[in-house]
């Protein structure tokens, strides 16, 4: 009698397991197919999320979310992301659903119950099923991943014909950008033309950094004595922000990137101006400031075209064309420049620029010299 009961319990719990798995699995697969079709059509962020969603901060000055895609490369990446997210959510629902269901269904209802439940040692068909199904999912994921890797990741020889080459060099803790085509050398803030492939050649002057502007492209490391190639094409005019993503020392947090995407004409104007040498202002204060710049250590590290060729620190030839200073920490204003020249260590402790102990009037002069570097 007891034996018969036991058999029935086993049979019933097996039936339940099979039915629940099939049902949840079916719902999951239907969802994946319906939503999967959506994904191959377009990026669900465009349809599913409104701009007011928590994941996109419309008012944030600093929008670095991966939920906004402003280049074909990011759209490609995020289509795959959504597929993977969906599959993961499907598996999550099935597994956690089974777990929670079993936890509730098979709790000991009565503390006085004696005797043990029926012992089930395993089942080859069931175990085979939950080996084979994950393998199928894995194969699907692999194929999708390999396809996207090959379409997004460029290799050395794949530079597009019409692209603009930008050399990106990581420094502790700022970025150097060079555009050989226009003879441009600048720091932290880059201007690029819209809808033209930008070909990045990444390197580093010291330790490993990582170039990350989430709305335009995924991240790629900048490594000493190794050139990495990376590429993006910006869809729209605008400002895109990012920062170093590989821990590079004390001020890793303050190594920010700003990319201004402009139309071709504006870009050319900017690039032509950047390529000019520093203007020769003749106000007494600026002349004095230039003297201070050349006589103290400044020129050893900072380059100013036509004046000095230091390259350990950001090139200052067109300093005033930038929005921010100190690796993106402060707005580029006269007061901030003064505070920075007086004691950089108070603002960005650990950075390589020393406080030169300049007198008040020397600081005034140097900053009025800097202010001429438009």
């Amino acid at each position: 009698m007891a034996e018969e009961n036991a058999d029935r319990t086993v049979a019933r719990s097996w039936l339940l397991l099979v039915v629940v798995t099939v049902l949840v699995g079916l719902v999951g697969f239907v969802a994946i197919f319906i939503l999967g079709a959506q994904i191959t059509e377009h990026d669900p962020t465009e349809t599913f999320f409104e701009a007011s969603d928590v994941f996109v901060q419309p008012d944030a000055e600093w929008n670095t979310t991966i939920f906004v895609s402003k280049s074909p490369e990011t759209r490609e990446i995020r289509r795959l992301t959504w597929l993977v997210v969906l599959i993961s959510v499907g598996i999550f629902v099935v597994v956690e659903g089974l777990l929670v269901f079993a936890m509730i269904r098979y709790r000991r209802k009565n503390a006085e119950t004696t005797g043990e439940p029926v012992q089930m040692y395993g089942s080859n068909p069931v175990e085979l099923a939950w080996t084979v199904i994950p393998i199928l999912i894995v194969v699907t994921l692999c194929l999708a991943t390999v396809r996207t890797i090959h379409s997004v990741q460029p290799t050395a020889g794949e530079r597009p014909e019409n692209s603009l080459t930008v050399e990106v060099i990581g420094h502790r803790w700022w970025w150097e950008f060079r555009i050989p085509e226009y003879d441009v050398v600048t720091a932290n803030e880059l201007v690029v033309p819209v809808q033209r492939p930008i070909w990045l050649e990444l390197g580093s002057a010291d330790v490993i950094h990582s170039f990350w502007v989430p709305e335009l492209q995924g991240k790629m490391d900048a490594i000493p004595v190794k050139t990495n190639y990376w590429q993006f094409t910006a869809d729209e005019v605008g400002t895109y922000l990012g920062q170093c993503a590989e821990y590079c020392g004390t001020q890793h947090a303050n190594m920010l990137i700003r990319i201004d995407v402009k139309d071709e004409a504006d870009f050319k104007t900017w690039a032509t101006n950047q390529a000019l040498p520093a203007p020769n202002e003749t106000t007494p204060s600026a002349v004095n400031g230039r003297k201070v710049f050349l006589e103290y250590a400044c020129q050893n590290c900072h380059g100013v075209a036509g004046l000095s060729d230091g390259n350990f620190a950001p090139d200052l030839t067109h300093l005033m064309s930038r929005t921010l200073i100190a690796g993106g920490m402060l707005p580029n204003t006269i007061d901030n420049l003064k505070a920075w020249v007086e004691n950089p260590q108070a603002i960005k402790p650990g950075c390589d620029m020393p406080a030169l102990q300049l007198s008040k009037s020397e600081i005034e002069d140097v900053v009025s010299f800097l202010a001429t570097l438009k």
């Binding site: 994941f55 000055e61 600093w62 929008n63 979310t65 991966i66 939920f67 990446i77 795959l80 992301t81 993977v84 993961s88 597994v95 777990l99 079993a102 098979y106 119950t113 439940p117 029926v118 012992q119 089930m120 040692y121 395993g122 089942s123 069931v126 939950w130 994950p134 393998i135 994921l141 692999c142 991943t145 890797i149 997004v152 990741q153 502790r172 010291d206 330790v207 490993i208 990582s210 990350w212 989430p214 995924g218 991240k219 790629m220 490391d221 490594i223 000493p224 190794k226 990012g242 920062q243 170093c244 993503a245 821990y247 590079c248 020392g249 004390t250 890793h252 947090a253 303050n254 650990g350």
Partner: protein, 558 residues
């Protein structure tokens, strides 16, 4: 009122040895049980220190542009937190349980090499103390930080003299090198013990899954740790002897360090999770009152995971510019490792399916483990998708991911194991009431801390930044994480109180408080130094089931 004179005929009680004698006993001990307890206790102490370091991190990041902690201190905190939790908490506690339980579970008297065992523990402990001495010993040189501030994987060339003044990296290297020797000794010891000292009838396929997981871990330690040791020695050569293994200026390779480190580092992740699989595979059957489902596949999956864990390391390096074909290979191998992991999860669910679940504290932690580990595993699959990894690698998404694996996974399993085996180790029960409170508070705090990290990562927050601008939309997520830390802190206080309280006033446990089936419950609590007399003989995977159910013994079905 009469005062009865004491009878002088009774034998005088043997006087309890003094404190110094007892400390001396623990220092010179070569008993695997005492060494196991020493490992676990040292691990818990380091855990408290590492937890406080995490508190400094969460305090600094609680709101944008927090001026409290200076960048160097912050960088030291995350470096020491990571290094401590991996090398001085995860490994010793897990290997400590392995030490304590393996001989008991396979029915023998001690580990194969008891003296090596003791050496391993003391080497580990002093390695850890050496690392922490860096706070004092390495400071002094102007501008040079005391404790290491290079991150727990210390990417070259950040560790070269040019970019790192002072000696903190030397403390980091030597501390890990020294404690690594202890781990290797324990790995070898586990493998030899399990292969050579099983009691009569304990065939390999009759060993508890826990012992299998220790065997597999032992092999992984023996294979992975020497690679790390070699890398650390090369780094020492670079720093002291003018070698240039990792120096890019002189044709060294900075990526060589990453390859060596992660060739150790990824198996290391499995060294930290496979013993946890073992704990769970013991706890879930006992509290479901059912035999483990699919024993053979559980063993196969363990060995499969171990082999494959050695071929996935470059998924930590998808953003270093490997060729697309290599990226694709490591994505595929990483996806594939999800299959055996999935088998284990399904088999645990199969075990509770049709059971009669008793919700004692160890079971809560075990089921919490399964639930949380699934989340960590799924975000792991997402991260294996190379293009998505370009988006979120080195961001807080990754931080969230590995805390779901190592905290929601390993640490929950460790707590489960402590609640489950504490009665055996001490002879006292831990308080169920405090235990359940501990679980729920920790569970809520854990999710509150680490779930928002996925979001802040996707919003563009890189890991290891000491500050962030206020207008980025990151504030709320970081604040939630920091509040979650506070909740977890309370949970850990409850846990510590539970241990201290129960050690003095806990109920007596008896030999077999959970009505369990493996051999450690067949002896006294705590076991005598010789474990068993006579040594047991087994006929099946659950010797105590056979003893309790002579009418329906296991060996008829295996």
């Amino acid at each position: 009122m009469t005062v009865l004179p004491r009878t002088s005929t009774a034998k005088p009680e043997p006087s309890r040895p003094g404190v110094l004698e007892r400390v001396h006993e623990w220092v010179v001990t070569i008993d695997h049980k005492r060494l196991g307890i020493l490992y676990i206790s040292a691990g818990i102490l380091f855990f408290l220190v590492g937890g406080i370091e995490a508190g400094v991190i969460r305090y600094q990041l609680a709101y944008a542009a927090n001026p409290t902690i200076d960048p160097v201190t912050f960088n030291q905190m995350f470096t020491m937190h990571g290094t401590t939790m991996v090398f001085l908490v995860g490994m010793p506690v897990l290997l400590g349980f392995g030490n304590y339980l393996t001989p008991l579970m396979i029915g023998t008297r001690d580990m194969a090499f008891p003296r090596l065992n003791a050496w391993g523990f003391w080497v580990f402990l002093f390695g850890g103390l050496l690392l922490y001495y860096s706070f004092i010993g390495s400071s002094g040189l102007y501008g040079a930080p005391g404790a290491p501030d290079v991150g727990w994987f210390a990417y070259s060339p950040l560790t070269t003299r040019a970019f790192n003044r002072g000696n903190n990296v030397d403390y980091w290297t030597l501390g890990i090198l020294v404690s690594g020797f202890g781990s290797m000794a324990t790995g070898i010891n586990l493998v030899v013990t399990i292969l050579c000292l099983r009691c009569k009838g304990m065939k390999l396929m009759r060993m508890p899954i826990m012992v299998w997981s220790m065997l597999v871990t032992g092999f992984l330690v023996m294979i992975a740790l020497p690679v790390l040791t070699a890398a650390q020695v090369m780094l020492l050569f670079d720093r002291f002897l003018g070698a240039h293994f990792f120096d890019p200026q002189l044709e060294g390779s900075v990526l060589l360090w990453q390859h060596l480190f992660w060739f150790f580092g990824h198996p290391e992740v499995y060294i930290l999770i496979i013993p946890a699989f073992g704990f769970i595979s013991e706890i879930i059957p006992v509290f479901s009152r059912k035999v483990i489902f699919g024993y053979t596949m559980m063993v196969v999956a363990l060995v499969w995971i171990a082999f494959q864990s050695m071929g996935v390391w470059a998924h930590h390096m998808f953003a270093v510019g490997l060729p697309p074909s290599l990226n694709a290979f490591f994505a595929a191998s990483t996806f594939l490792i999800a299959v055996p992991t999935g088998i284990k999860i399904f088999n645990w669910i199969g075990t509770i399916w049709g059971g009669r679940i008793i919700y004692k504290t160890p079971m809560l932690f075990a089921l919490g483990f399964v639930g949380m580990f699934v989340i960590g595993g799924l975000t792991g699959i997402m991260l294996a998708t190379v293009p998505f990894d370009w988006d979120v690698s080195d961001s807080y998404f990754v931080v969230g991911h590995f805390h779901y694996v190592l905290f929601g996974g390993t640490l929950f399993a460790i707590f489960g194991a402590i609640y489950y085996w504490f009665p055996k180790m001490s002879g006292k029960m831990l308080s169920e009431k405090l235990g359940k409170l501990h679980f729920w508070v920790l569970f809520i705090g854990f999710n509150l801390t680490f779930a928002p990290m996925h979001v802040s990562g996707m919003l563009g927050m890189p890991r290891r930044i000491y500050t962030y601008a206020p207008d980025r939309g990151l504030d709320i997520w970081n604040l939630l994480s920091s509040i979650g830390y506070g909740v977890q802190f309370i949970a850990i206080l409850i846990f510590v109180w539970n241990i201290l309280h129960s050690l003095r006033k806990g109920e007596d446990a008896g030999d077999d408080p959970w009505d369990a089936w493996t051999l450690e419950w067949a002896t006294t609590s705590p076991p005598k130094s010789w474990n068993f007399n006579p040594l047991p003989v087994v006929k099946s995977r659950r010797p105590l089931w056979d003893a309790k159910h002579p009418e329906d013994p296991d060996h008829e079905y295996e």
